[in-house]
């Protein structure tokens, strides 16, 4: 399931719902991205961030997230997957994104969850505008994100073990 929303989400309730009633699930891996109060964008970084605004491309965002989710489910034997991504104004400490994968086996859950966030980071059309004391600053894409996503591209069989 994918959701793109302005509102916050209830992490515990979302994770519970993913495995509820499915006793074939042996492991649930999740990752939550949070707004840091320190700039992590390209360049020097380290500047204090007040709030940020997440812009996205309605329509294409949902398509890309659905595609990423479908690819994860093709690569690993998963019982459930979830991607929630917020947009709009967010404060330090706020939840930005949740990705989760449930599987009979933990390796599949871990790898699928890691894949979901790595691909989302490089493919889903979101852009962060940081409100720094010096004014709004668009966050630069990080080369480490591209490298992280590239790990998964060689072949679907590689990481599925």
């Amino acid at each position: 399931m994918i959701r793109v929303q302005k509102e916050d989400f209830d992490l515990g309730a979302e994770l519970k719902a993913l495995t509820a009633g499915n006793h074939a699930v042996g492991g649930l891996c999740s990752f939550v991205g949070l707004v840091r109060d320190v700039s992590g964008g390209g360049g020097a970084g380290g500047e204090t961030v007040g709030a940020m605004t997440l812009e996205h491309y309605p329509g294409m965002t949902e398509k890309e997230l659905s595609r990423i989710e479908a690819e994860a489910r093709e690569r690993w034997p998963l019982d459930a997957t979830l991607i929630i991504h917020r947009y709009g104004r967010l404060e330090p400490g706020d939840q930005i994104v949740l990705v989760a994968a449930a599987s009979a086996h933990r390796e599949a859950a871990f790898e699928a969850c890691h894949f979901l966030i790595d691909f989302l980071k490089t493919k889903a059309p979101f852009w962060k505008l940081e409100n720094t004391p010096g004014g709004g600053q668009w966050v630069d894409a990080r080369s480490t994100d591209a490298a992280a996503a590239a790990r998964w591209t060689p072949s679907p069989g590689k990481a599925a073990e």
């Binding site: 994104v97 989302l120 852009w127």
Partner: protein, 87 residues
């Protein structure tokens, strides 16, 4: 039958171009994304600045990532944006 094309700009491309969304009627010679960008840049002002470094511009036609040599046609939705920074 529509003869116009819908253009979308996001993040700093939107700010530099000075427009978020517009319907345009490109001339007959515009058959690819690259040609569309050439035509936009020729309009000068914000467009020239937005497309100053084409290597960092990402393009989607009808909400699918494409490269600069991808064809464009009337009725298409063409979006320009910087590398994504979500998650």
């Amino acid at each position: 039958m529509t003869t116009s094309m819908k253009l979308l700009y996001f993040a700093w491309l939107r700010e530099k171009a000075g427009v978020g969304e517009e319907d345009i009627q490109p001339p007959a010679g515009v058959a690819t994304v690259a040609q569309l960008v050439d035509w936009l840049v020729a309009r000068g002002g914000g467009y020239a600045e937005a497309f100053g470094d084409r290597k960092v511009v990402r393009v989607a036609v009808n909400q699918e990532y494409v490269s600069l040599d991808h064809p464009v046609a009337a009725g298409d939705e063409v979006a320009f944006f910087p590398p994504v920074t979500g998650g």
